[in-house]
């Protein structure tokens, strides 16, 4: 599908025969034109079969309650076939715990869980605040700059480097590998072939293997690599599984919070009444953080594979089918969320959104993500009553990562 205007997308979304709707098309996401297609599916065909797409045939689950039903039934809806709409050829798959079912999933998840548990978050809070202050204090005034590069990437990548105890001076490699791991192959993506992607990710593996070798011979430490190297559940992983888990932790700890930081500033600018409400009452920040995460939905979907025939929303999903839970659509379902297309920083029950997923694969780092956003907004408001968006965001070519390449902003003098 070629680039089209938002108006044209609305008309097209309502006119196209239902069976030709392919909401997985990354172009729709790069153009920001996917909303009317999901709106139509929620209205007319909430559990929708797309028979032909670049990703092969797949089911789309678009309503909140149906998504909840799939997400909490891991016995039937397996993660072992992969968790994004894209099927990698077998030789390019890198196993990791988000793409596993119990019991192996449980053991590996428990290995890394302590790093984002309440006790450790309390220890990280001071560090996050000092970094947020330094980043915000370094911003130019009365000059256009890229919020993604200067703020969103900086804060999240410094944090990620700390969690891995990864050299801070090389931290932008983490950003690059995160993008490399999730970019679609071909035009619009970063690589033309899976081979080229894997060659780059091999550099990531080599770098981390050095860190692993250091840590495995040292006393157990509190960073993620040391945890993986010393836990019985993960210490015997082969290189592919090590790389798979690295990618999971890098993407999970990087893209998601980064894009919510960017989205939040964009939404406040698009809704000046909400920005004013925030200035009038900074006590709303905690609630606003949940609303930002709902409104952005930084991972647009998670995918499952049906291990048995199953009925969802009155449709029969056959064993072996690919099932895509569109969190980004469920978060705009007016059956569960009042006035869902409105960004409301004081929304009641703001925590009840789908962005972290539900069930045993629910985002392990959700509280760390919320903490980073909360601190950043607390410190930003103290310094700058207004940060203006002065141009259009450049969006990512992906129907998995819902994010931004750049966002031009200016702090008024």
């Amino acid at each position: 599908m070629s680039t089209q205007t938002i108006q044209a997308a609305k008309v097209h979304a309502d006119d196209i025969p239902l069976d030709q709707i392919d909401v997985g098309d990354p172009q729709l996401f790069q153009d920001g034109n996917f909303w009317p297609y999901f709106a139509r599916l929620r209205r007319e065909d909430p559990v929708h079969y797309c028979g032909k797409s670049a990703f092969g045939p797949y089911w789309s689950i678009t309503k909140y309650k149906d998504i909840m039903q799939v997400d909490t039934n891991h016995a039937v809806f397996s993660s072992e076939g992969g968790i994004s709409i894209l099927d990698r050829p077998e030789e390019f798959r890198t196993p990791n715990f988000i793409s596993m079912d119990p019991p192996k999933h449980d053991e590996q998840r428990k290995t890394v869980n302590p790093i984002v548990a309440p006790g450790n978050l309390a220890r990280l809070e001071h560090l996050i605040r000092s970094r947020a202050c330094a980043i915000l204090d370094s911003l130019p005034v009365n000059e256009t700059f890229d919020w993604v590069d200067r703020v969103s990437i900086e804060l999240t990548t410094q944090m990620l480097a700390t969690l891995f105890d990864f050299p801070q001076q090389d931290r932008r490699l983490l950003t690059y590998w995160s993008d490399a791991a999730t970019a679609p192959i071909g035009p619009g993506g970063m690589f033309d072939t899976e081979e080229a992607r894997l060659a780059e990710l091999k550099n990531c593996l080599d770098y981390f293997t050095c860190l692993w070798n250091e840590r495995v011979n040292a006393e157990p430490g509190s960073d993620l690599i040391s945890m993986l190297a010393h836990s019985p559940a993960t210490r015997n992983m082969g290189p592919k599984e090590f790389l798979g888990n690295l990618i999971l932790l890098i993407v999970g700890g990087n893209d998601t919070t980064r894009n919510s930081i960017t989205g939040g500033l964009l939404f406040l600018n698009e809704n000046p009444d909400q920005y004013q409400k925030l200035r009038d009452d900074p006590g709303l920040i905690t609630n606003m953080v949940s609303e930002i995460i709902r409104y952005q939905t930084p991972l647009a979907h998670m995918r499952r594979t049906a291990l048995a025939d199953a009925e969802i929303g009155g449709k029969l999903i056959k064993k072996g089918a690919k099932v895509v839970m569109w969190y980004i659509s469920g978060n705009r379902d007016d059956e569960v969320i009042d006035n869902p297309n409105k960004f409301m920083i004081d929304r009641p029950r703001a925590r009840q959104h789908l962005s972290f997923g539900f069930g045993i694969h629910r985002c392990v780092g959700n509280r760390l993500a919320e903490l980073q956003l909360k601190i950043l907004w607390e410190e930003a408001l103290k310094r700058y009553p207004t940060i203006e968006v002065v141009g259009r965001p450049e969006r990512v070519y992906s129907s998995f990562v819902h994010g931004y390449r750049s966002l031009p902003v200016r702090i008024p003098a």
Binding site: M68, T72, D106, G119
Partner: protein
Amino acid sequence: MPKITYVEYTGTEREIELQSGFSVMQGAIDNSIVGIDADCGGACACATCHVYVDPRWLEKVGPQGSQEAALLDFAALAQPNSRLACQIKMDDQLDGLVVRLPEAQH
């Protein structure tokens, strides 16, 4: 109406009346008890309404369900008397129930 006491992490005790059939999670949300997040709204899908049941009440409250146990297995601060408050329904048998709240929900 049966009564329930929530002991917040700071030690503050709050006794409220909770209608039979309502969940211990709902009672906490409706009365702004500090320390219950209830992100999934009571679907046994997130483990953010984690409570510790006072040992004297464990037998009457009963054991964790299987989905509940799978989620509590990942909760950072789980103990043998951990339950999800959305899975405990109030009734006359539980009049006087005491639950404690963890340091944080994760």
